[in-house]
Structures are given as structure tokens and as C-alpha cells.
């Protein structure tokens, strides 16, 4: 049974009915990320896909509000008209998941999964720009947090708690985001490197420079070959600058003087980073698992090497701090260990169903914290009807 109410009131009454009946709900937008984390066992689904439309756009106040079911494409198009963009550059993961149930990803889904692209290394994650939310909790109550201003510390920050909660605490119905002017120009430097160590050393030098690097990725040869402009160059490191044209020109020049590298022009740079954003460099086979590993940037190369040696593949973004990896499900323990060795965390982004229900798709929380997690879940969703089991078994 799939229910896709036309408005927030409809979402609230569907949740109230489910809570009264004690029937779990699979919460989704267009279902483009249903394959993430653990499978939800629910006979009914509740979709926000009919809650669409931009409800406020005030470019001079750097603020946009949209109903949760608004597609990211529609939102980006409206911002483009105003010369602005989504700061965190959220990825479109359809290369990994296919196109979902015939629709594109929604802003609600991107926020609920807290997905950010390459710019995260310099400008913050999706959750950093969520200024306000409207949501319906598991009791069917509508709650607001934050607002439509850029600076707000009034009460507990439920905007952040709900961002990245994968629909397990409440169903987002409307989201207000901080936006920024889109850069006039972008440009990149490409470095042919011997290995990940050398690549991340260059990325680190770029990020430690005063030139405002806003993208820093390392692609092994096989990953680089999947981007048309980087074919047959071997392993490469890329750094990006985005700003006014004169600034981009100046800063690329300085970086080139200090670190060398070959330039990609504006158009090529945009296309290459879009591909990196959308995880195009990662080749995946049917039946394989995909992990996202977040580590200390300097530990990224060791994690990538460990996974590659074990028969997996991957590439590094965020200056080495984000590892996208793919391989057979048996690699899970290796990935887990690589994350722990890198003093970081892992997320199982995609996996065969058996694996999704069997392994820890997220690092387990320490016991005292997990007790709090259970109590917070109960505080938001007392009957446990929203996406049960999505993040942790039995929650």
C-alpha cells in the first residue's frame, strides 16, 4: 500500500492512523534512495512526493523554502534563475541506484540523508545549511524548528537532528535552506600522481593554502578513466577553485606556481566535478556493495589501499577524508577495519538485501549513547512507526 498525500495535513493524518494501528511506515519521496542502509519492513509506504513547490525564495536574504517533495532539479533550476546555488552541492546517486520509482530525488530525501558533494570540504554539509524545517513526528504532530533566517539558536536544533535521520524520527514536509551566489567561474588543476599518498599530499597542500580550494579529489587510474576529460592519464589528483573570474585566474596561477598541475577550463572543470559529485568514477557491478567511509583526510590513502588490496575499488574526495568504495559484500569487514584504522566511520550505501539486514550498516554506537538514541527515538516516534530498522536493528 502506498500513500502519497497532497499536503502536510494528509501526511499527519496518515501517520496518526499508522501510530494508532501500530503499523510501521516506509517513509520516502520518489524512492531514489530506498536501497540505502537497512531495509525497512513495512506493509505500507508514505511518500512526500506530492508536497511540491517552492514556498519562499528571497535571493537577497540568501533563503529558499521548498516543500519536501520538490525535486532537487526543480529547486536548482529556480536558484539558477536567481544566480544562486545549493551550497553543499548534493550528489545525484542514480548512477548507483538507478532512477528510483520513475522520479528524481527530492530535497526532502537529500536532507533526510544529509548528502553533500565535493564542496562539503570547504563550505559545509547539507545539514549546515538547513535553516528551518516543518515536519510531522511519529505521533502525527506537526512541529517546526529553526525558521527563515540565517542565524538562529532558539531552542534545541531539531533541524540538524532531523537532517541525516533518514526519516526515522519525523517526516520532513518543508525545508528552508541557506543558499549562496553561484560562482562566476570555476577552474581546476589536475596532477598526475604515482599513488593515493602523493595525491592526498597535493590535496592537503591545496586545502592548506590561502586560495579557497573548494574541491579536492584523488582518482586512481581506473576511476579517472570513467571521466571523459581524464581518460588515460593514470591516477590523478584534482583541486578546484570557484569565485569571480579574475580571482579564479589569479588563484589557479598561484597554486600552479606553488604546486604545478595542468589546468581544466571552466566548462571541463564543471563537468568533471559534477561526475565526481555523482560518484561516476566508481565502477560497480550487480551484486556488489557500496560504502561511504569518512576518515581523517591523511588516513584516506591507507583505507583505499587496504580495500583495493582486498579486491575492492574506490576513490577519494574531501581532500582524502571521504572514500567511496565498491566491492563484493565479503569486503565489509575490511571496509569496517579500514574506517576504524582511519579513526573514522562507515555507511553502507548500497548492498544486496541479505547483507543489508545482516551487517552493521553504520558503526554501532557506544552503549550509553545508544540508550539515549532509543529514548530520543521514543521521544519523537513513540510507537516506532517511522522507518523502523532503517539505521539500527530494532530501532
Amino acid at each position: 500500500m502506498s500513500d502519497a498525500p497532497a499536503d502536510e495535513a494528509g501526511i499527519a493524518s496518515a501517520i496518526r492512523a499508522a501510530a494508532e494501528a501500530g503499523e510501521p511506515l516506509l517513509v520516502q519521496g520518489h524512492g531514489t534512495k530506498l536501497g540505502m542502509l537497512r531495509p525497512v519492513q513495512a506493509a505500507r509506504s508514505l511518500s512526500t512526493r506530492n508536497l511540491t513547490g517552492i514556498t519562499l525564495y528571497s535571493p537577497k536574504e540568501l533563503i529558499v523554502s521548498a516543500r519536501a517533495g520538490t525535486t532537487v532539479t526543480a529547486l536548482e533550476a529556480a536558484l539558477h534563475e536567481g544566480g544562486q546555488h545549493l551550497i553543499a552541492e548534493p550528489p545525484d546517486l542514480s548512477a548507483l541506484f538507478g532512477s528510483g520509482e520513475g522520479g528524481e530525488q527530492t530535497i526532502g530525501g537529500v536532507v533526510a540523508a544529509n548528502l553533500s558533494g565535493p564542496r562539503r570540504v570547504a563550505w559545509g554539509a547539507m545539514r549546515d545549511h538547513v535553516m528551518g524545517v516543518r515536519a510531522v513526528n511519529g505521533a502525527g504532530e506537526t512541529i517546526r524548528s529553526g525558521g527563515r533566517v540565517l542565524k538562529n539558536v532558539t531552542g534545541l536544533d531539531l533541524c540538524k537532528l532531523l537532517s541525516g535521520s533518514h526519516g526515522t524520527l519525523a517526516v520532513l514536509t518543508e525545508i528552508t535552506l541557506k543558499v549562496l551566489p553561484a560562482p562566476e567561474q570555476t577552474g581546476s588543476l589536475v596532477y598526475a600522481v604515482a599513488d593515493a599518498e602523493e595525491g592526498v599530499r597535493i590535496l592537503s597542500a591545496g586545502l592548506c593554502s590561502p586560495y579557497g580550494v573548494s574541491g579536492a579529489a584523488y582518482l586512481p587510474a581506473e576511476a579517472a578513466d570513467r571521466i571523459p576529460w581524464l581518460v588515460e592519464q593514470g591516477a590523478v589528483a584534482l583541486v578546484r577553485i570557484e569565485d569571480f573570474a579574475r580571482s579564479v585566474e589569479y588563484r589557479l596561477g598561484r597554486l600552479q606556481a606553488e604546486l604545478g598541475g595542468a589546468r581544466l577550463d571552466d566548462e571541463t572543470s564543471r563537468a568533471a566535478w559534477r561526475a565526481i559529485r555523482d560518484v561516476i568514477p566508481l565502477r560497480t557491478e550487480a551484486g556488489e556493495a557500496i560504502w561511504r567511509v569518512s576518515v581523517r583526510p591523511s588516513r584516506g590513502p591507507a583505507a583505499l589501499v587496504a580495500i583495493t588490496r582486498a579486491g575492492g575499488r574506490g576513490f577519494l574526495d574531501w581532500g582524502g577524508g571521504l572514500l567511496w568504495a565498491a566491492g563484493p559484500p565479503e569486503l565489509h569487514d575490511i571496509v569496517r577495519q579500514a574506517a576504524l584504522d582511519g579513526k573514522g566511520t562507515w555507511t553502507v550505501v548500497r548492498a544486496p538485501d541479505g547483507m543489508r539486514a545482516a551487517v552493521e550498516v553504520l558503526p554501532p554506537e557506544p552503549a550509553p549513547l545508544h540508550r539515549i538514541t532509543r529514548r530520543v527515538k521514543a521521544a519523537m516516534d513513540p510507537r516506532g512507526v517511522l522507518n523502523p530498522g532503517r539505521m539500527y536493528a530494532g530501532l
Binding site: S58, K60, E61, L62, G83, N114, S116, G124, A125, R127, D128, E141, R144, G147, V149, L150, K151, N152, V153, T154, G155, D157, L158, C159, K160, L161, S163, L169, P181, A182, S204, L207, C208, P210, F244, R246, S247, Y250, S294, V295, R296, P297, S298, W318, G321, K343, G344, T345, T347, L362, P366, P368, L369, I372, T373, R375, V376, A379, M380, M391
Partner: protein, 475 residues
């Protein structure tokens, strides 16, 4: 006197035993219980409210903090976390039956990692202390509240502090990667770490700005950033608040995001100039401080563009800082604004609402009308880029009823901020000061949702109770 929850009679009666128990856990000089030595802890940056606590403890480590928290939890004693005590909203105001847990001895830099651009410090390190520790290598910690010389990073986390440069660099929450916390039961938990995105629920985001109601923070891991090649400030003076507001719109609308964009009205200009001698134009009705970053050429380009954008609004004067010393003086005036107002008025209340920036002229006009009604002067400082407004209400506490009038004036301003689409507090926190006003911004369903989350972390409401939420008695 501000109303607080009823002290627990049993705790007050057991004071000596509780203090003796604390002395077993900490070195002798880390437990304070003599009334005369408790006095410095009776208030914070909002001195209108005072309450001497039962005792004060000053742990030096996470483990000592955990031992104290576990003990106080067993004894059912309320805990007030305290950094440097610079809260402007009474966030660190003690209760008579509470033990204040101060962070000031946890002042060690734990680790600095330049390659990964992170620093881990204990909670009692000052905000400026982080920048000072990394400045020699050309790095800085971005959030810069005006109190940065004194305020501690643990307190910054509690309040999600901002500053003048958060238009570009964000507030505390956006610059934080990890926390070591102690729960009310005395459990030590690490949240996040030296990496960008933690997996699981965003506890880092929830804890930041939770005003010490969910857990004690003992260690903080922050992003450090490479300093820009340089920065320069420009002063632009206008003949009215409305015109200056339009100039702000024009600058942001052009696609330029200055690293700081500060607005002062006439009373603020005069107060700050008397204090800092920064050369602020005294004939202006409104003044913008615009700061840009980059190479000298980039600064020139941006300042020239901004000057051009301001021309249609016929600035009275436009002055680009010519030296580092001049920029410093310009900022000294702005950052010293609260102290400067303190010099021209016996007392003042510093408000902290946020408004949609388009509402600025309307809100300043209404504040001016209210100022006449209440017979109290007000100076306005405004982080114009992000809409965070600081009206400084001047009053004389020795005049009977004057404080109450100032408080009511402040409440009216914050209510107005909410009415025009803004919020009660942009960076100072709710504390005790704006507790009852929470009902202006949130309905009871929303407040109860937040209260249930507080209960999930602190089931017995021992951590900084009497703050943020309207008191039950007033319900």
C-alpha cells in the same frame, strides 16, 4: 529576581555532606563552598540576575568531570555547566541547590593536526586561544564572538556562538567536528572525531546550542582554516537606516558575500567612536563596516565593486582602511560596542534577535518608536548579512522600575522580531532571559517535543534546569 524552579530542600539540607563527597573526588582547591568564594559565580554576562550556588567544582580532566557528574547524579543534585561566564542570556545562572561545574581548569590544547586541518582542545580553552595556538602556522579558528578574548570553546558549543564573520565562515556548529561529553549519569562519550561527516544521528548538531541541558562538554575538536592572504575593511556612511539597508541588499544581490557586513545606527556609532577613536563619521545616521578577503588585488577589486554598488545610495562618506592598524581600530570599535555603550549608560541590556534582512528599516523604525514610548535610549548593532540584530537598551538600575521597563522593551523587540519572520535569539541563546518568550516562537506541541528530547538525555532534569523552557509554574 528571576524565578527559578523550587530548590530541593533535601539537597540544601545535605550541603555539607555533598561538599564532603565532592572533596573526595577532586583536589582540595577544586571544590569551592565558602560563601565568600562562591560570590564570583553567582552571575554571568547578565548581571541583573544573581543566585549563589550550593558549591562550585573545577575539574581538570574529563575523568574528574565524569566522577563529579556520576556522584551528583546519585545524590540527585542539579548541575550548572559554566565556561567563562560570559553568557548574555543568563545561561550560567546558578540555582541555590545546584553545583556549578566550571570548565576553566580544562584549558589544555590536546592536539593540533595541520595536515588534516583540525585541532582538539579542552572545553576551557578560550575562543581566541585556539586561533593563537595555530596562528604561527597561518591558520585560524573562524567563529569570533565579541567576547572571544574571554569566552571558552565549551561555552561556545553550549550556545552555538556566532560572531562578526559567520556570514562567510558559519557559526560554531559549522566549524565543529567532534566532542567528548559527559552525560548526566557520568558516562564519557565521544561524538564525531577528526573527520567531516559522522555516521548515525547528528548528535553533534543537537548538542551544539543545547545550552548545557543535555550533557557536559569536556573536549572539542574543531576545523581550523588557513588564513586568507589578507583582509581589509571599508566604512560606508549613509544618511538613513533605510538607505543603508538598501545598500546591503544591493551588495548581497550582486553576488558578493563580504566576509563581514556590519551595520551600526547613529547612537551605536557615537558610543563606539568615543571608545575606540576609529574615525567613525559622527554625522552619519547609519554606518556599514564591510570586510573583504584575498590578495591585495582581490581586495581592491571587491572593494571597488562594493563602492560602485553603494554609489546610487549617495553615501555621506566612504573610507577604505589603508593599513592593518586602521582595520584593527575599525574592528576595535565594533567589537567593543557593548563595553562602549556601558561607558555612556549606567546599565544596558543587550538583545539578540534575528530578522529577515529586508525587514531592517521597518524593525529599526518600530524600535525607535518603542524607545520613545518606554523613554529608554537604544543603540543598534546589526550583523547585516545574516539578519542578526543587537539592540542595546540603556537604563539605570538605580532608578526604581527602570530595569523592568528595559526588560519589557526588550521583550517587545524580540516579539517584533518573531512577528516579522525572525527569531528570539541569533547567537546568545535563550538562557533564563528569553525563557518565557519561547511561547511567542513555538506552540506547546513544539515545546513539548523539545522537552521530551531534553528528557531523553536528562530524565530527571538535573542539567541546567530553569533554562530555555518556560517554567512549569507559569504554564
Amino acid at each position: 529576581m528571576i524565578e527559578q524552579l523550587e530548590p530541593k530542600a533535601g539537597v540544601l539540607a545535605r550541603k555539607d555532606a555533598i561538599v564532603a563527597g565532592l572533596r573526595k573526588l577532586l583536589p582540595a582547591d577544586a571544590v569551592i563552598s565558602e560563601p565568600i568564594r562562591l560570590r564570583p559565580y553567582e552571575t554571568d554576562g547578565l548581571p541583573a540576575f544573581r543566585q549563589v550556588p550550593l558549591a562550585v567544582v573545577l575539574p581538570s580532566t574529563t575523568e574528574e568531570t565524569a566522577a563529579v557528574m556520576a556522584y551528583l547524579h546519585r545524590e540527585g543534585v542539579r548541575v550548572i555547566p559554566r565556561g567563562a561566564g560570559t553568557s548574555l542570556s543568563g545561561g550560567a545562572l546558578p540555582m541555590a541547590d545546584s553545583v556549578v561545574v566550571g570548565m576553566m581548569r580544562m584549558n589544555r590544547i590536546v592536539n593540533i593536526n595541520y595536515a588534516d586541518r583540525v585541532a582538539t582542545v579542552q572545553a576551557g580553552v578560550t575562543n581566541i586561544g585556539i586561533t593563537q595556538a595555530v596562528a604561527a602556522e597561518g591558520f585560524f579558528y573562524a567563529p569570533d564572538p565579541s567576547s572571544q578574548l574571554a569566552c571558552m570553546i565549551g561555552g561556545n558549543v553550549g550556545m552555538n556562538s556566532g560572531g562578526a564573520h559567520c556570514l562567510k565562515y558559519g557559526v560554531t556548529a559549522n566549524n565543529l567536528l567532534g566532542l567528548r561529553i559527559v552525560t548526566v549519569e557520568g558516562e564519557i562519550i565521544d561524538i564525531g572525531g577528526e573527520y567531516l561527516d559522522a555516521a548515525g544521528l547528528d548528535w553533534l548538531g543537537l548538542l551544539t546550542g543545547s545550552e548545557g541541558m543535555l550533557a557536559m562538554v569536556t573536549e572539542v575538536t574543531v576545523r581550523i582554516l588557513r588564513s586568507p592572504e589578507g583582509q581589509r575593511a571599508m566604512l560606508v556612511a549613509f544618511s538613513s537606516n533605510e538607505i543603508a539597508g538598501s545598500a546591503v541588499d544591493a551588495i548581497i544581490g550582486s553576488g558578493i558575500i563580504p566576509v563581514a557586513l556590519e551595520f551600526m545606527d547613529k547612537p551605536a556609532i557615537h558610543a563606539c567612536e568615543a571608545f575606540a577613536h576609529a574615525g567613525y563619521p559622527l554625522d552619519a545616521e547609519a554606518l556599514l563596516i564591510v570586510e573583504v578577503e584575498g590578495s591585495t588585488q582581490e581586495q581592491d577589486d571587491l572593494l571597488a565593486k562594493i563602492a560602485e554598488l553603494c554609489q546610487p545610495f549617495e553615501p555621506i562618506s566612504l573610507r577604505v582602511s589603508q593599513s592593518a592598524a586602521e582595520s584593527l581600530a575599525i574592528w576595535k570599535g565594533r567589537k567593543g560596542a557593548f563595553g562602549a555603550v556601558g561607558r555612556i549608560s549606567p546599565d544596558y541590556l543587550c538583545m539578540d534577535g534575528t530578522i529577515p534582512t529586508s525587514q531592517l528599516p521597518f524593525v529599526l523604525r518600530r524600535i525607535g518608536e518603542m524607545s520613545d514610548q518606554y523613554g529608554l535610549k537604544v543603540a543598534n548593532i546589526f550583523h547585516a548579512g545574516d539578519g542578526n540584530l543587537h539592540p542595546l537598551i540603556m537604563f539605570d538600575a538605580n532608578e526604581p522600575g527602570c530595569f523592568e521597563r528595559a526588560e519589557q522593551f526588550g521583550a517587545d523587540i524580540l516579539t517584533l522580531c518573531v512577528e516579522v519572520g525572525g527569531c528570539l535569539t541569533g547567537e546568545h541563546g535563550v538562557g533564563v532571559e528569553k525563557r518565557e518568550l519561547m511561547r511567542v516562537q513555538f506552540n506547546e506541541v513544539e515545546l513539548n517535543q523539545q522537552r521530551r528530547i531534553k528528557s531523553a538525555w536528562d530524565p530527571e532534569w538535573l542539567l541546567n534546569p530553569s533554562k530555555v523552557f518556560p517554567l512549569p509554574a507559569a504554564a
